[in-house]
Amino acid sequence: MLNYVLRRLIYMIITLWVIITATFFLMKLLPGNPFGEVAAKLPPENLAILKAQYGLDKPEWQQYLQYLGNVAQGDLGVSYQFPTRSVVSVIKQSFPASLELGVESLVIAIIIGLTLGIVAALRHNKWQDYSAMIIALIGISIPSFVLAPLLSLYIGNKWGILPPGLWEGPENRILPAFALALGTIATLARMMRASMLEVASLDYIKTAKSKGLSTRKIVTGHMLRNAILPVVTILGPIAVGVITGTLVVENVFVIPGLGYQFVSSITTLDYTMITGLTIFYAAILIVVMFLTDIAYGLIDPRIRMSGRR
């Protein structure tokens, strides 16, 4: 186990390094420079001062090494767009909202998604199955940028049930979390249903049935635990997707999260911000995937952490 974890840790670091390198040089390829506006009228000497301040006067490989060193110390640089804000401080400021929204929506998605999936599987090919699956499918067919403004307009404004936006009290959380959860509900419901059906056809369930166990016992005692395994494996990527995918919802419901920061940093060519946020997101993704694998191992006794996956 320890061996496995160590090995994974090393891979994680290598992966992160590759991502940092790729993003760093990709940024150098992007057209334009972040001083575009200022540079036009600044005398060359002042421009040189400005460049020196951001370390842009050195050869690229030196900038790269410098950047690696800084990242290793947890310093992602200073935003070009907001020279008084460091990337780390922006993350500290904006990420909590995205994280909270992501977690809330994930909880909603898991509860509703798994329930739909289980009901659909237990009532296989009956109307409950069809309606559960149609609900789920609608979830992946309607883009969140249609659903979210719709919720804001009707539930928020016209009917006045919940606030149409802003990030103040608990009542502000419900609409965005739900809007964000819908797609995930669908994925989880379908996965859970397929997995339940697969388990239901296995011999030991037949054995359990023939022993005369009640359906309830079979479902809770035998099926759920086994059926949930494949679902756990995709939970990692899903969680990351939810947390990084908050962009649309943040935009519509006016939530001060990280998703919006990312897009605005791209449109303003804020290099340090783009690089920093990409690395940050990648790090989350890697860590979450790692945790999922560990969790998978803990739930499934058949998997031994012996190295290769």
Partner: protein
């Protein structure tokens, strides 16, 4: 004992054809088709998709209007016999634009899926077939790519490449093939270890035969199913890019930018959002139910 006459030992007459195969012999594909046909949801999805494709191809051809000419006197008309879906804020016929958009969106989805297919299958196949060191290195690469937040990378790429259909396809394909590669490799590794492959090898089957007769058929179902999920994902991806503002170049239409434009007018011009969203959702829905149906139909284990 002699009393037993030979007569009593007449060979029994064949009365029934117990050995004959009652069910018609079906190839894998015929069988899959038979099962798919019995799946009502999947068939409905298939029919809708065919219908949508036909409309996407022919509706703009037979329309009096084109997707770009502006009729500034006919702005924001509600749906009518002259304009089935109404007009937009430039007086352009929405019926024509929606089907143009469908055409573009489907095109993006299909091309993206084809690229994914070729790259992903080759990569996954090579990785699984050679195994060992090659596999190890190739898998590390996949892991790294998989760990990059794809959406973010794609956005950076689009900004880098400039907006347009080809940029969108490239951005999607560059990041999308990884899932396919992982899937193909996983399935191949699984199949490779199974008894029937071992048996074939023991019987002296050549690698070519093993690949063609055993490996490919066992992977192809999975790949087809995966494609039915990639197409809608790519269409969704395009619409998302439109939302961020880096999608298709105006005045070209795609379902993504029609919906996104429409969303701004949701309050006062609901027809602007309703029609493209319905078409978009139907396409996504159909691909998904069809994919589910295909998964069941192509799974050899489901054969009865």
């Amino acid at each position: 004992m002699e009393s037993l006459s030979k007569d009593k030992f007449q060979p029994a007459e064949k009365t029934t054809n117990a050995e004959s195969i009652v069910r018609p012999s079906l190839t894998y594909w015929q069988d899959a088709w038979r099962r798919l046909r019995s799946n009502k949801m999947a068939m409905a999805g298939l029919i809708i998709l065919v219908l949508m494709t036909i409309l996407a191809i022919f509706a703009p051809m037979f329309s009096k209007f084109d997707y770009e000419t502006q009729y500034l006197k006919d702005i924001d008309l509600k749906p009518s016999w002259g304009h089935f879906f109404g007009t937009d804020d430039f007086g352009r016929d929405l019926w024509t634009r929606v089907w143009w958009g469908t055409r573009i969106s489907l095109l993006i989805g299909v091309i993206a899926a084809l690229i994914d297919l070729v790259v992903g299958v080759l990569y996954g196949g090579i990785s699984a077939y050679f195994g060992g060191k090659v596999d190890n290195v190739m898998q590390r690469i996949v892991e790294v790519i998989y760990s990059i937040p794809l959406l973010l990378l794609a956005i950076i790429l689009i900004v880098f490449l400039g907006p347009g259909i080809s940029s969108i396809i490239i951005a999607y394909a560059l990041t999308g093939w990884v899932g396919m590669a992982r899937l193909v490799r996983g399935q191949l590794l699984l199949v490779k270890e199974q008894e029937f492959v071992l048996a074939a090898r023991t019987l002296g089957a050549k690698p070519k035969r093993i690949i063609l007769q055993h490996l490919i058929p066992n992977v192809i179902g999975l790949v087809i199913v995966q494609i039915t999920f990639i197409v809608p994902t790519a269409i969704f991806f395009e619409s998302f890019l439109s939302f961020i503002g880096v999608g298709i170049r105006p005045p070209m239409a795609s379902l993504g930018n029609l919906i996104n434009d429409g969303a701004h007018y949701m309050r006062y011009q609901p027809h602007r959002i309703i029609f493209p969203t319905i078409v978009f959702s139907l396409i996504l829905l159909s691909f998904n139910v069809l994919g589910d149906g295909l998964r069941d139909a192509l799974d050899p284990k489901m054969r009865k």
